[in-house]
Each structure stands twice: as C-alpha cells, then as structure tokens.
C-alpha cells in the first residue's frame, strides 16, 4: 500500500481517499497554499474579522433568501404572500426576520470593514483593487437593501422606494430612464416590484458573486495590510499566525457570536410588516428611511431648507457623488507609506466623514422623534 502523504492519515481509508482526490484534482496544492497564508497579529487584529463577518451575513442572506423565495410572489399579490408567510406559515416570521436583521447587520459589518480598511490605510498600493472592488461590493449591498425593501409592498416600502427613485429623477435626463426602465411607469406599482425582484434575486447576486471572488483573490494575493505602527517595526518583531487553521478557527468563533446576536435580534424583535401600500393613502406621519440612509435623508432635508426648490436635492446628490468619488480615489491620493502630510489629510478626511455621518444620523432621528411627539 502506498504511504499517504497526509501525516497522521496513513492508517485510515481517509488517507487513501485524500491521495485519490489529490491525484485527480490537486488538493495538496490548495492545502500547501492555505498553510503558507499567514495573518499578522497585533493590537489592531480585531478589525481583520469584519470582512469575514460580512461574508457570514451574506451567506445567511443567501440561505434565508432562498427560503423566502419558496413562498414569496412578486407582482400584484406581493403583500398578500408576505402576509401569509409571516402569519400563516410556521416560522415564516422568523425566516423573514432573520433576512431583514441579517441585511442590517451585513450593512453594519460592511461599514466597519470599510472604515477599518480606510484607517489602516490598507487601500495603498498594491492593494488599490481591493479597495475599489470593495467599494463596488458596498454599492451593490446598498442596491440589495434598496431593492429588497420594496418587495413586501407595505406602506413604508412603497414611500421609501418612491422617494428613493424620485431623487435621481431630478437629475438632468434621468426621469424618462427611471420611469421607463427602473420603475415601469409614472408611479411605484406591481410592475416595479417585479423589476426589483429580478434585480434583487438574479441580477445583483450574479454580479455580486464574481466581484466578491475577485475581492477575496486580492486578499489572498496581497495578504492583510498592517497599520502604520506595525509597518515601522522591523520584520523580526512582527508576529503572524497561520490562516489555516489558527485564524480560521477564530473567524468561526466570530461567526458563532454573529449567529447568536442575529438569533436574539430576529427572535426577540421580529421584523414588522406594515399595512398594505395604497397609492391613494397619504404618507404616514414620522415616515423615515432605514438607519443607513438616514444621513442622506437628513442632509437633503437641511439643504432643502437652505436652497430653493429642487436645488437642495440636486446639491445633496452632487455632494454625495463628490464625496464618493474622493473616497474612491483615496488610494491614488494617499500613496506614501510614511506619515506624510497627505497621509494625515486622508486620516482627517476619514474622521470628518465618520463624524458627519454620525451627526447627520443622530440629528435625523432626533427630528423624527420631535415630529412624532
């Protein structure tokens, strides 16, 4: 009998299976590659878990989304099918609650991942494409959120989508494109649901998965970036742990924590289903967007008070577009690996972005509470 090349597996049939597989598909190369991968270990290592955490929530979305597909019906009967799913199907409320909560947690962990990447300056060469593919994924995550939000077609879903689509309609030349292609008519209707459904369950996943693969390939190729405090240390003083199995086990532990948090939130705070959307009913008092759109909502509100007419909306969209472009171009601007002046400007820019996002969000919620009371 040929000796197995996997240590410790000589005596059992698994070793022979391993060899049989290795000869045919090349398992050894993958194992060798995984063994060589290391993850830096330092005081900021905690932030390395948030990319994996985002993938965990994405996996939850895939599984719970497929389960929702079993009962969900897009089009005219959309609200009815969600109502049945929540109130008549065993554990339907839980599956939907998990899908909604995991969506929010995924957006949160993606943001943590992005900001930690930013402050660790992990976007610097040769990792620019990691940053850009990540921003592409973030854009798709927001589209996932926006398109999924409409699908139950309750009151909140209807008006959120209406306002969300109305803002780009005010940009020059966009109205016919959005009404004809995205919305399928002058108003949000069952035609829009059908389109958003196709976007949410086919088009976006089809685009998301290859980009995610590329994003992961970038991490594999270049490894994790280290913060500047580590970069300044001589190589002999830097510590690393093997990715497999050491870091992977810690990743799994983080996923377990994430699963527990998700289970508690989904079970204790079931995602509500509002009343059915009625285009002839007025928008309900205190209506506001999800927390991750709150900052844009509040900025538009503030600009609307200062600028006349639609100039507020156009100005707001321009500001966010400009901010987004600057955010994307940061790897080209902040290239130095020393503590140069550009590096400090980029760091301050990051702090400013976080501070204004938080301030606008808090102000937005404050105003919602004030209007309601």
């Amino acid at each position: 009998m040929a000796k197995s090349s996997l240590p410790g597996f000589d005596a059992i049939p698994f070793g022979r299976l391993y060899d049989w597989l290795d000869e045919r598909v090349g398992v050894k190369e993958v194992v060798e590659f995984a063994k060589k991968k290391v993850v830096p270990e330092h005081s900021q290592s905690f932030w390395y878990y948030w990319g994996g955490m985002s993938i965990f929530f994405f996996t939850v979305q895939l599984v719970s989304g497929i389960l929702l597909l079993v009962y969900y019906r897009p089009g005219e009967g959309a609200y009815d099918s969600v109502r049945q799913l929540v109130y008549e199907i065993d554990f339907g409320w839980l599956i939907r609650s998990v899908h909604s909560w995991a969506a929010n947690l995924m957006v949160f962990s993606v943001f943590v991942h992005m900001f930690s990447t930013f402050f660790m300056k992990a976007y610097r060469g040769p990792r620019e494409f990691g940053w850009w593919s990540g921003l592409g994924l973030l854009g798709m995550v927001t589209l996932f959120g926006f398109s999924g939000y409409l699908l139950p077609m309750d009151e909140l879903a209807f008006f959120a989508t209406k306002v969300g689509l109305e803002i780009p309609k005010n940009m020059p030349g966009m109205r016919p494109l959005i009404e004809n292609i995205v919305q399928g008519g002058p108003d949000v209707s069952s035609v829009t649901i059908q389109r958003f459904f196709a976007l949410h369950v086919v088009i976006l996943p089809l685009m998301f998965l290859p980009l995610l693969t590329f994003h992961l390939w970038m991490v594999m190729k270049h490894g994790n970036a280290v913060p500047q405090s580590e970069e300044l240390k001589p190589a002999s003083q830097r510590r690393t742990v093997p990715f497999f199995p050491n870091f992977f086990i810690k990743d799994l532990a983080m996923w377990l924590i994430a699963l527990n948090v998700l289970a508690i939130l989904a079970a204790m705070y079931p995602w509500p289903l509002g009343v059915q959307a009625d285009p002839l009913a007025s928008a309900p008092e205190g209506i506001h967007p999800e927390w991750y759109f709150m900052n844009q909502f509040e900025l538009l509100k503030i600009l609307g008070r200062i600028l006349p007419g639609m100039a507020g909306e156009i100005g707001g969209v321009l500001m966010f577009t400009l901010g987004g472009v600057l955010w994307g171009l940061v790897p080209l601007f902040d290239t130095s690996s020393k503590f140069g002046s550009r590096a400090r400007i980029a760091t301050w820019f990051g702090f400013m972005v976080i501070a204004s996002l938080i301030a606008l969000t808090v102000l937005g919620y404050y105003e919602v509470v004030v209007t309601k009371s």
Binding site: V163, E166, I181, G184, D187, S282, I287, G304, G309
Partner: protein, 167 residues
C-alpha cells in the same frame, strides 16, 4: 508608360499620401464597416429591449391621457373632508371645504412624490415625508421643500355630480 495595377497591396503600401504610421484606407474602411455593423447590432438588440421594458410606462401614459372624471353623488366628500381618487393614474384629491367650495388638486407632492393629506384643522395640505405644506384652497406651496404648487383641476357641479376636468 508605367503600368499601374490596383492590386490588394496598393492601398496598404505606404506612400506620400498615406504615411506608414496612419491607418491605411483599406484598414479604415474595414474598421468603419465593423464599427457600423457593431452599432447596428447593438441598436437592433437594445431598441426592442428598451421598448419591452418601457411598455408599462407607455401604457400608463395613455391611461393618464383621460380628459375628465365624474364623481357620483354617493362618493361626494362631506364638508371638511377630502376624497382621494385617481385621475388617469395619478392620485388626486377633491377637497370639500366647510364654506361649501370644492377644490380639486393633484395629491402628489411636488417635492419627492409622496401622497399628501388634507388637514382640515389647520386648513392646509401636508406631506408627511419631508414636511411640506400647501394652501388647501389654491394648492400654492406655503412652506417646506416643495418647489412648485399642486396642479389644480376644474370642478363643475351639475345634477348632484361633480365633473373634474383639466385646467
């Protein structure tokens, strides 16, 4: 007399009129033809797809072309209330004021398109999305972000019915 032959190599041969760094005439024609064919194919695919996707919007536009809407007597709003109905595809409101006058306005906020509501206590029209208000008699935008007044409709009362037509 030198024999001039126009064979395939002539166009590709560099000469004074066609410096070697430029694209040869033959190459240019081939590229232009390929480009034109590409545009034709792209158009032939994109146009039906665009029309296919835009069909519901076109149908809604035809539906919106209605000239008038009749409100029967039994649907008439009581004084101090408003009736919501569709004029074509747009939500529209018929306000019956306490003084007996009737005003018909489009119920879609001119800011970001939310459906507005009539508030009889304040005697104005309010949008809950971003807090815009309008005059309940004229439709003029009073405060908040709305950039334009609400569109008005003609209201004619005859035989207990109300006839709504475009201004």
């Amino acid at each position: 007399m030198p024999d001039i032959t126009l064979d395939e190599n002539t166009a590709a041969t560099p000469d004074a009129a066609h410096p070697p760094e430029g694209v040869s005439r033959r190459g240019f024609i081939v590229q232009a033809a390929l480009g034109a064919a590409g545009v034709c194919y792209a158009g032939a695919v994109a146009y039906p797809v665009y029309r296919y996707l835009a069909a519901p919007a076109q149908q809604a536009a035809e539906l919106a072309a209605v000239k008038e809407v009749k409100i029967p007597e039994d649907k008439m709003p009581a004084p101090g209330t408003a009736l919501m109905f569709r004029f074509g595809s747009r939500p529209t409101m018929l306000i019956h004021h306490k003084d007996g006058t009737m005003v018909c306005l489009t119920a879609v906020c001119t800011h970001l398109g939310c459906t507005v509501q009539y508030q009889p206590e304040q005697d104005h029209i309010h949008c809950a999305c971003h807090g815009g208000t309008y005059d309940a008699h004229t439709g003029a935008n009073i405060s908040g972000p709305p950039p334009k007044p609400l569109q008005r409709f003609n209201v004619e009362r005859a035989n207990g019915e109300v006839l709504i037509t475009r201004v």
